[in-house]
């Protein structure tokens, strides 16, 4: 709510704004859990980005004689899978697509929600009613099942997987934006801005968006962890990323077929999913607390 107190004419990064930003940063970094989350995500993201440099093996190369080697086998730190592919290398390369499939739909849904929520909250009336009632219908479906059904209609694949996950998130994020818009637009400073002659565009863009973004950002950051779990689930079911492309969900899915002989093939990628999802949740919680001045004290 701190940003709500911004007065007309102060640019977001004026001296006061910069002060708020450092306060936020300081609070975020002092939060050990948030910092841990940041480290986890940075390691996962960094490893995925540097995959060609750090992975010891080609993630698609199978060595027939080394199939299902247990973790700790010389040359294969985390062992090999059912086709003799190095699990660690596949995890590193898999991070590229797994992280992307978790982040892209969340961000895309956030942008659509920002537009819909602002329009609904700002205009109110019929348009608001129409948007929100249509979105209400989507709340009647459990999130993951709706995504599966959408993939069922448009067909499996990475692009469709991301599209389906984005669609199911839009109603949730839109609610957050609309609520924030409604709470800000009736404040006095908006009235003052209007009295000074600002048009709808200026009020929306310069005054509502900066105030609506923090709650949306907090909400979105908590969704990324959930989306990493959900998208790996779709890939596990064979509805998202397709083998042999390395992806954490795909790895659990194919490892499942050899679970009686070598449990590590399916269990290790799952540990990575849990840890990375936790990392994103830590960041989300940290953001929420750092942006809330009451919690900060």
């Amino acid at each position: 709510m701190a940003t709500v107190l911004a007065m007309e004419g102060t640019r977001p990064l004026s001296r006061r704004g910069a002060g708020r930003f450092t306060a936020f940063l300081r609070a975020f970094i002092r939060d050990r859990q948030a910092l841990a989350g940041l480290v986890i995500v940075a390691i996962a993201g960094g490893a995925a980005a540097a995959a060609p440099l750090i992975s010891a093996w080609d993630p698609l190369k199978s060595v027939e004689v080394d199939r299902l080697s247990p973790p700790g086998t010389p040359g294969y730190l985390l062992g090999t899978d059912e086709q003799g592919r190095d699990i660690l290398s596949r995890l590193i390369w898999g991070g590229r697509i797994s992280l992307l499939v978790g982040i892209v739909p969340t961000v895309a849904a956030g942008l659509v929600a920002l537009f819909l929520g602002l329009v609904a909250g700002y205009r109110e009336g019929m348009l608001d009613h129409l948007i929100m009632r249509v979105l209400d219908v989507f709340f009647a479906f459990p999130l993951v099942l709706l995504a599966i059904a959408i993939v069922g209609v448009i067909g499996p694949g990475v692009g469709n997987q991301m599209f389906a996950l984005a669609v199911v998130l839009v109603p949730y994020s839109t609610r957050v934006v609309r609520t924030a818009t409604l709470s800000v637009k009736h404040l006095e400073f908006i009235e003052a801005v209007r009295a000074l002659g600002a048009g709808n565009g200026r009020v929306l863009w310069r005054h509502l968006v900066p105030n609506v973004l923090p709650p949306l950002l907090v909400y979105t950051s908590t969704l990324v962890g959930l989306m990493i779990v959900a998208s790996s689930g779709l890939s596990f079911l064979g509805l998202g990323v397709q083998p042999p492309t390395p992806d954490w969900g795909v790895m659990v899915g194919s490892g499942r077929l050899v679970i009686y002989r070598a449990a590590h093939v399916a269990t290790i990628p799952g540990v990575i999913i849990v840890v990375v999802a936790l990392g994103f949740n830590f960041i989300g919680d940290g953001l929420r607390e750092a942006l809330d001045p009451r919690a900060r004290q």
Binding site: F141, L145, I148, V153, P156, G233, L237, G253, G270
Partner: protein
Amino acid sequence: MTSYVAQRLFGLVPVLFGISVVIFLGMKLIPGDVARALLGPMGTAESLAQLRGALGLDQPLHMQYAKWLWRALHGDLGLSPIVHQPVVELLLPKFGNTLILAGASFVLAATAGIAAGVLAAARERTAIDRVTMSASLVVGNMPPFWLGLVLIVVFAIDLRWLPSLGMYSTRGAGGLADLLSHLVLPAVTTAAAPGAIIARMTRASVLEILGHEYIMVARAKGLAERVVISAHALRVAWPPIVTIAGLQLGYLLGGAVFTEEVFGWPGLGRQLVSSVIARDVQVVQGAALFIALSFVVVNLVVDLLNLYLDPRARPA
């Protein structure tokens, strides 16, 4: 009270209408129609046109919708072109199996979650609190498909305590004991993440109540902490807990898809996934309808239950 219930029921009409429109239009978005799917690649243009006429696919969209809705209201969701069986006949038993799994998981998630949450709140800032909440954080982020596999490795493969596949043993008399032994691992898997969320919410809700002045009075009277929590705090904390637990039911239905897949549980979720892979849109549509309707009913029940539990929520 009655008028509120009536109002709430009436409010369902637009939601149900919306659900039916979304599901119907979703079907229309896919390339190719039911007639083509039914006839297969061998169908001639002539027979295709004939079947389309018979199915009413040559009529305008709103007429098709009205007909589809009319049939759906009479329990007819069409015929699956893949398994050649009426969709309702195919889905009803699977829906029952999912209800068994979801019911057991919900009971497990709610009892374990509420117990853990109350315990953590009562022992705030102790080791018990920290351990319970850290555990709930980790468990809450576990993908159900992975947790299911881990449980299979430990309890079915290594320890050989419990079966890992299906609802009943292929050999053996079946019966309740057999069902229960097959139910344990899937139910724990499905209950884990929702249970963790319920635990965190319960803790927050009870802690908030414990900060009230009337709790201080109860403590000042010298009441045992056990009584303060069970008789004073929990009574007020119930409504938000019930709401959160109810919301988890939807989450639980979503998680059940993965559990059913991992444990070979013959439920609605597994059917949905295999129909999606087979592109059996007719069944996907039916399953979506089943799921949405049960979700709507659950939300209604949660609302009404809250009304019963919390006199303050009742309209004057």
